[in-house]
Symmetry: C2
Subunit: 290 residues, 2 copies
């Protein structure tokens, strides 16, 4: 199968590596608007064949979009215009409602399979791409009746080739759940980093004390603003809801702390411990749902 | 040197393993109020010699306290009463002002070296203990003129044997910095876990989407309430200050999000990216300050 990967960053670069190495793709063509990304992707042998967007997608059986969700909305209609009637397009963005709305009335709507592989790191760009990034992770397919079965099957086969397990949600369900489970974590991390940086003008104290748990909670603050700006814009209402809930619960904790209500703080910490069961399950989860 | 380790959890157990393996301790005697902890520590060969508290510390050259900071304040005076005039005591707790105040007027004050190794995991108990836990991490020594040089030198030698680098702060400085850099991270993680657990009544969605960054930000929510309750109590004012600052910054972000002020969100994310320099330095830091 001929695959065109649009966007050669962490996700697109990793997809290109694995689809080729695992034999799913007979050819991989790469597209990136950044000359620097192209240079690095070629140098790291992530991709060998670079082409302009329209040429790349016009010759592909499967087009994978791994670009920021703001660019996604602008570029997707153009890509659908350019692809043959037999080709399939999928995106790998973190928001789903807006991208689906952007091409709801496009004559080739049935060829577009919205999806979201739940994998990544806090790093970005082609130099962050790596093999096996997706193994044993979850891919969300947001088919809600608008996708032709053959195209959906092709995207599912790609994710299975990447080693992923499939789950299914509507675009609206996806955007609500990711607001709480993924997007809120990023906001909390960005703001936590700022809170500590503002307090600790001399970063020496951060260096010295970061072994006390700080590092893991602010890891996501390294995430790219170019990627996260459009996610926040497109999932604004759900993230505002999640963040509002988080702030209210922090205020409750703050009140208990100031009032010396140590029993309440204990209850909150014990409740939070239920997450242990969820996290321990992540490493051992075996069932495949569909 | 004969070392008594009081508290055989993650920290105490790991100390016992390394001090013996590295030849710093000729003998290690263990103390733990929990029969279950004692059983596990013996079974895992973390310790071979278990004794009652007073007997253990009366026969030791160096006493290491690795118990929750609430118990620390109650037990430390009793331990100072029981040790010989040549013995040294150090604690490994996450708060310093209250423990120093608790023995400020004790006749053996000069034998107590307050310290805090910045190492650990979100797991607890002797089964979480492991070798090399402290290697290349930072140990904070909170000597502020009340410690005799020979006792301070003994504790510094112990941390060097554990592979740690030393930094020095007053107890008050320590408690302010740890509130922002360590304790706040734990509160944010506890509350974030609760926020998501409350929203996602069916934890399936958390399982499915946790690959999107959630796992690292809530890792600390697995931390023991038994350990963290007393830390929150003893460092209440500093943590309330840190948490209040964090909440205000989250409210600013929330306002920008709701108002559609994407430029402001972008600025906040870019500011947060400065943490990249701090975190990347953590792996490569070589200087030793004193």
């Amino acid at each position: 199968m001929k695959v065109a990967v649009v966007g050669l960053g962490l996700i697109g670069g990793s997809v290109a590596l694995d689809l080729k190495a695992r034999g799913f793709a007979s050819e991989v063509v790469g597209v990136d608007a950044s000359a620097e990304n192209v240079r690095i992707a070629l140098e790291l042998d992530i991709i060998r064949d670079i082409r302009p967007l329209v040429e790349a997608v016009a010759g592909a059986d499967l087009v994978v979009l791994a670009i920021p969700v703001g660019a996604m909305i602008r570029v997707l209609p153009e890509i659908l215009d350019a692809i043959p009637a037999t080709a399939t397009v999928t995106d790998m963005g973190s928001t789903k409602v807006k991208v689906c709305a952007a091409i709801a009335d496009h004559p080739k709507r049935a060829q577009f399979v919205p999806s979201h592989p739940m994998a990544g790191t806090e790093n970005s760009g082609p130099s962050a791409a790596k093999s096996n990034l997706f193994d044993r992770k979850i891919a969300v397919i947001c088919d809600h009746g608008s996708v032709a079965p053959s195209h959906r099957a092709r995207v599912e086969a790609m994710y299975v080739a990447l080693g992923m397990r499939l789950v299914f949600m509507t675009p609206a369900e996806h955007d609500v759940h990711t607001a709480f489970v993924s997007h809120l974590s990023h906001v909390s991390s960005f703001v936590l980093a700022n809170t500590v940086l503002e307090k600790e003008k001399d970063v020496t104290a951060i260096f010295d004390l970061a072994g006390g748990g700080f590092e893991s909670t602010v890891r996501l603050a390294k995430s790219s603003p170019e990627m996260w700006g459009p996610i926040l814009e497109q999932n604004r209402d759900n993230i505002a809801d999640a963040l509002g809930t988080y702030i209210r619960q922090l205020q409750e904790f703050h009140s208990a702390l100031v009032a010396g209500d140590d029993g309440k703080m204990r209850t909150i910490m014990e409740d939070a411990g239920r997450i242990r069961r969820v996290l321990s399950g992540l490493g051992t989860r075996v069932e495949r749902r569909s």
